[in-house]
């Protein structure tokens, strides 16, 4: 796949953020990096939308914000997944997978479906 920026589907950013935090607390900048590297540079999180999404998730109680020091000793706000956030992630991953499978099925079809029986 080329590096052309993929548009985010609505709601996708939230689930990506939640997933990014599964391995431990991260600050915003680290989250963008993680998503970019995990997707082999395919997904570039737009920073202007990242932070509002983080704050929104924090307000909903899916994330916990906490101040700490970054790798190079600067004060940064770290986000941690709450129990509620973990539950939400599990739920959204399931939804996402079902959705993706359905889309794949349609796109991968090689012949037209059989005509529906008239009941």
């Amino acid at each position: 796949m080329d590096t052309a920026k993929l548009e985010f589907l609505r709601g996708t950013l939230d689930v990506l953020i939640l997933k990014a935090l599964v391995w431990g607390p991260l600050h915003g900048y680290a989250i963008t990096n993680l998503i970019r590297r995990q997707s082999d540079d395919a997904l570039l999180v737009e920073e202007g939308t990242l932070y509002p999404a983080l704050w929104r998730l924090e307000k909903k109680g899916l994330l916990d914000g906490e101040w700490g020091l970054s790798e190079n000793n600067r004060k940064a706000k770290f986000y941690r997944l709450t129990a509620e956030g973990r539950r939400q992630l599990r739920h959204e991953v399931r939804t996402w997978e079902a959705y993706a499978a359905a889309v794949a099925k349609v796109l991968g079809a090689t012949e037209a479906p059989l005509p529906e029986e008239i009941g």
């Binding site: 600050h27 737009e46 704050w55 101040w67 940064a76």
Partner: protein, 896 residues
Amino acid sequence: MKSTPRWRRYARMFGPDPAADVEDELSFHLQAKVDDLVAQGSSPEAARQEAERQLGDIRALQQIGASIGEQMERRKRLKDYWSDLLQDLRYSFRTFGRDRGFAAVSIVILALAIGANIAVFSVVNTLLLRPLPFPNSQELVWIAPPPTNCGFSCATYSADAYEEFRAQSRVYQDVSGYEAFTTPDNMRLMGRGEPVPATSIEVIGNFFHVLGVQPAMGRVFTADEVRGGSHPVAVLTDAYWRRQFAADPDIVGKALDLNGMPITVVGVLPAGFDFGAVFSPGLKVDLFTPLDLNYERNWGNITTLFGRLKPGVTVAQALDDANRISPGLYQNVKYPQTLGQYKGNLIPVPLKDYVTGKLRRSLIALWSAVGVILLIAGVNLSNLLLARAAARAKEFAVRGALGASRGRTVRQLLAESLVLSGAGAVVGLVLALLLIRWLAHQGSVALPLLGTLRIDGAALGWTILIAVFTTILFGLVPGLRIGGGNLQEVLKDSGAGAGFGLRHERVRAVLVVSEVALACVLLVSAGLLLRSFLKVLDVDLGFEPDRAASISVEYDDSAPTDVASAAKRSVICQRILARVTGIPGVEAAGMTDYLPLGPNRQWDQPVPQGQQGRVFPPGELPAPLVYVVTPGFIRAMGIRLRGRDFRWADTLQSERVVLINASAARIYWPQQDAIGKVLMRGTEADRVIGVVDDIHEESVEGPMGSQIYYPVTQQGPSSAQLVIRTSLPPAALAGSILRALRELNPKQPAAEFRPIQTLVDRATSPRRFFMLLVAAFAGLGLLLAALGIYGVISYSVARKTQEIGVRMALGATAGRVRREVIVNTLRLGAMGILAGTIASAVSARLIASLLFATSPWDATSYAGMVLLLVVVALVSGYLPARRASGVDPMTALRSQ
């Protein structure tokens, strides 16, 4: 992430700052980005530009962040507050659970005070604050002259005057009225076994339209039905429909036999419409019939007047309008000399004021009384809480030492009082509900709108307000006292009674003194009202209500001529009276068409013979109230008479005779004996054969006007009320009298046999009602004050147990210890009484207008109050005093 560094603890020392947080977060992001870009080989400037470009509109981002942050902050604060509050409440419940006695006493005190307040508020709300139960009721005005001593008889208008007024006035949407001289049970419903009495009122055709009352079933009157000669119709009240016709859903269209006349029911009124409640307190109306103005045209003043103003018209404008019209009104357009009779007599007042205006002062007094009760209860609880707090001084000191702030301690105490007053409010509400239900069914109390009494949203709001008020009132004082205590002193001190010492006791003494003072005010007010009530009961009514009773009688005296009719009536009445006086136990019997203290009526003003043309200044002599009576009535009623009573021999063939009352005699023939003089009524010459005492006609308390009595043998009565005087309890005679009347006239309905005393009781019922309520509140206040005194003294005795023990060990006698405690109590009581007397003097002046023949400085009331309070203080001081003198020195000394 590394562990949080030390500096971070102070970063938000002055509270959270979401905007700064966002800024920090974003600037970290930019720096990290710049670092990365520089590491990849960009120049620092280019890297910075690129980083900012990627982040987009920083200002907008910051705004979003700050607003989300603030929302979170707010939510957090709220959550903290709630969790603190819940913690406080849980703790309060736990402490009260341990101290059930204290909690129970406090809740009972509060429930009584709050219950009384809600109940009285509901009464005030119903009578004063809430609009009348009609749509746009503020537009309704009652039109009448200012109150006089002849009641409705002076406040009514003729059919002609009504029509002219209605046509000429410009400020009303419409004007209506009703026939004012209805007596209860004026109809009898036949055709269903025994005739059943019913009360009917004739109303002007547009009556219901003007009030805005829609029938629940059927319709009200049509224009045709209002004109005479058409088929008679009636509209039933909801209560009558349910009671008499078992809520028959097909009643509309059915014909009833009323007084032997078929009347068709055209509609049923809604349950919410109660004529009596608004216009005639205590009167239960069963049905309404249209008033035929043509028929009433020559009957003089028969209808009351009220109107619905056009929107936006003020009462003052309505008055101007009435003053413009009234000089040109005839009582009867056929008689020119009746022009201008109503001059200055048409004064519109808001209907609401007419209905409840007279009660305003009493209600405000009542409201103040319960307010005082609430204050006393609050002070009392403050006192109890203080005593309790003293016992818990250690607990609070420990909490303080462990870091609880003063504010937190006060909050804890407020939470405790909130729990108490909340519980008190709930129980009080239940008490109020019971009281209100009881009050609403006091049909015998002649107060308007009483039946519509209920607890509504406003009353619930008032409950909450009161609960909050008491919470603050009695929670704050102890809270502040304790919060301000000196921790070290308390912790150093030992023993249960130690703690807040003298200063603390002084606060409690001040509270008790104010409690006693407030109780004083209530007691004096109640005393004054009680004295007034007794004075009212003592009023010489002019007749003797005890051992007299009355019943409404039916007979048929119709005859072609007046003379024949009078003769027939004379025979019937003689037969009835002879039969009734024959019943054992009946001492005297007579008949009248109107009873005192009820509806009444006037005829024209008679003039003494030879004084024709004499003009009585307005107000000096309203036209006399007229009674058409049989011989024997004066004696049966117990009215004192000088001269002779009517005789059956006084007929239309003999000389016309009248009896007049002393007031009329004085005005017609000042300084002369009226007996033997002649009164001219038009061309009719009436010889005065006797002078009777004035009887209280309108009200027991009001002044008396002139009264005149005619014999049934010479004038036509408008109804017949049999009055008997008996040596037995009237109720015992009811059966035999009704049987006797039935024998003479099978159509006689089963009318109520009423002791005359009930008329008097009814007339005095509002005063009795208020007096009883205020007295009950005074009693409650006294009880609370006694509790307060007892609490303070017994606490101080408990605190001094050791001291008393030492003194007794050193030789003080039990009597001396007891005396000292009692003197102490009396000192508190005396200070309270002193302050209370001064306050009472002020409050008594405010209720002066509610008193009857009683001075606001009435010495008896004040002396009674002082005596009562001293006795109460003695009793509530004696119990702790006995305990003090019973202290065993050894035990007391060992206990510490």
